[in-house]
Each structure stands twice: as C-alpha cells, then as structure tokens.
C-alpha cells in the first residue's frame, strides 16, 4: 500500500507516530515509548475495488463481477485496513503491578479497497 502523500487522492495508509510522553502516559506505560497510529484514507474508484486484495484472483473476481452486473454499481468500495499487527505493552496497573500484554490488531500495516 502506498503511504499517503499530501496530494494522494487514492486509497493509502496515513502514518502517525504517537509518543506516550505526548499523552502524559509515560508514568504508567513502561514499554514501548510510543506506537504507530496508522489509518486508511483515500478514494476507491470501481476499477480499484478489491485491490490489493488477499490475492490477485480476489481482485479479478471482484472486477469481473462489477463488469458482469453494471459498470457503475450503486455500492461504493471503501479504503479499509487489509493487514494489522498486535502491539505488546508493558504497563503498571492501579495496584502497581507490572502487566505485559498484547493488544491484538492494533497497528494498521496495509490498506486496500473493499
């Protein structure tokens, strides 16, 4: 997936690094120091529907369905996350215990058109 440039109109991944110091949370989140808060944005014209799909065949299947039905379907294709990864956190709970846990699917790694 392309990372969004200011003038990119098409579906792309917008990257933001959040430092926990900026949130004033470094006193209870021990590790990591921050994380990537990425999100997907951009347009998904019909010819991009289903791309980059899970496999090229997925895209061509969607594309031929679009052609078979009618060239301009009512529904629209949206720019959505297609790959995510967990974030491991080490933090202090309200009792002062150290907790290590993984937050599943927190970081968006790739975006695509539904």
């Amino acid at each position: 997936t392309p990372t969004c440039e200011p003038e990119t109109p098409l579906c792309c991944r917008r990257d933001h690094y959040v430092d926990f110091q900026e949130l004033g949370w470094r006193d209870w989140i021990l590790q990591p120091e921050g994380y990537q808060l990425n999100y997907c944005s951009g347009q998904c014209p019909p010819h991009l529907a289903g791309s980059p799909g899970i496999a090229a065949s997925f895209h061509s299947a969607v594309f031929s369905l679009l052609k078979a039905n009618n060239p301009w379907p009512a529904g629209t294709s949206c720019c959505v996350p297609t790959a995510r990864r967990p974030l491991s956190l080490l933090y202090l709970d309200h009792n002062g215990n150290v907790v290590k846990t993984d937050v599943p699917d927190l970081v968006v790694e790739a975006c695509g058109c539904s």
């Binding site: 959040v18 933090y91 002062g96 150290v98």
Partner: protein, 218 residues
C-alpha cells in the same frame, strides 16, 4: 484549510495539521484504553521502586515470555507480621481477582540473603484474604533453599484461585533444615523481604476463564 484542499476520502474540508494531531492523540488514548479493557488510565498509587522493577523484569527472560494470547503479571509483595521468632512472614499481593481469570502458571520469586544459615526448609501457605493467617491456611508448596540468591518457586495454580478478593496472602514458614538450636540470639532473617530484592509473584493469565460449555466441549 484553503478551499482547494479537500479531504480525499469524504470530500469535506481538510483539517488543520494541529487539529488533526489533537484528534490523532485522542484516538490513540481511546485505542490503547480499549485494547487494555480499561475505562480510564490507571492512577498508580504505589509504583514499585525502579531497581526492584528492573531486577524483576531481568528475571523474566524473554524466552519465557508468555504466548501472545496470555497476559503476564508481576506483583510485588508487601511484607507484614514478620515474626522472626518463628521465622515466618506474611506476603500480601494486590492482584485482580484470580477466580475470573484463567491462571496458567504462577511462580513466587524469593531472594535468599548471603547470610543464609545453611539449608532452609520453606513452606508456603495460602491464607484467607481477610484473616491474619491464623487457623485456616492451605499448604501450597514446600521447597528447600540451599544457596543464596534468587529462587523461583512454582505454585499450584489451583491453590491460588478461590475467593474473589483482589488481595492474595501467602505465609512463608522458614526453618533451618538442621536444627542448630545452639544458635545464640534471634535467627537472622534468611530472606530479603524489603528493598530491591523483595519477593514478587509472576503470574501468566488468560484474558478470561474458559466458559464451562467450552470446557465440556473440549
């Protein structure tokens, strides 16, 4: 913010960079709290000393870290009612109620002082959260400590579950293996129960107790 710049997704006006940044930070707070199942950030009233924290984290070698679906908790003990005459101490831990969680693994880490008077016979009892460890107490484990330094004593997960209380009390009973009653004066504390080498509990828990239906099906 100019008229020509529009949001590439929704066609609305784009946000000023500062406004977008403020929104991203707010989103980050919501995301992290939701991911940790917290309604608000913890107000840590008794943070552990940095040195104790660093030592405890060094003990949990990365290779032993739990699989992704599990949560690891390190809880430092507060020592009360330490009566040197019988060589027993009460360790109090404040952990989320264990009954509501699936406990995979529990270890009690103790640091035996260099002044260890020979081999020690250690018995660990679990006391009722509200009682002061007199009368009803359940024997969890027995160990022999023969060398100074850190010792990780495995505790039976079944013995730690029980009440819904968020307070877990363990009683440590230390006795020298050889009864050298000739020792003059009070036996010195063989275990380090304060400072940077204080005892801590290492727990590996699942997100939630597997429901009875699933257990039956399994």
């Amino acid at each position: 913010q100019g008229v020509e710049s529009t949001c590439s997704s929704c066609g609305g006006p784009t946000m000023a960079p500062q406004a977008e940044r403020a929104l991203v930070l707010e989103l980050a707070k919501q995301q992290i709290l939701e991911g940790l199942h917290l309604t608000s950030r913890p107000r840590v009233t008794r943070p552990p000393p940095q040195a104790a924290l660093a030592r405890a984290l060094r003990r949990l070698q990365p290779s032993r870290l739990a699989p992704a679906s599990r949560e690891e908790v390190i809880s430092f003990a507060t020592v009360t009612d330490s009566s040197t005459s019988t060589g027993s101490s009460i360790l109090t831990f404040h952990v989320s109620p264990l009954r509501s969680r699936h406990l995979y693994h529990a270890r009690l880490w103790l640091h035996a002082l260099p002044s260890l008077p020979g081999a020690l016979h250690l018995r660990i009892f679990r006391c009722g959260a509200r009682r002061r460890c007199r009368g009803s107490r359940a024997l969890l484990a027995e160990h022999q400590v023969t060398t100074p330094g850190w010792h990780a004593l495995t505790l039976p997960s079944s013995g730690l579950r029980g009440e819904d209380s968020a307070v877990l009390k363990l009683q440590l009973d230390c006795r020298p293996l050889e009864d050298n009653s000739t020792v003059v004066g009070q036996p010195r504390r063989p275990l380090d129960t304060v400072g940077h080498q204080r005892p801590f509990l290492e727990l590996q828990m699942g997100a939630s107790e597997p429901g009875p239906g699933r257990t039956k099906r399994r």
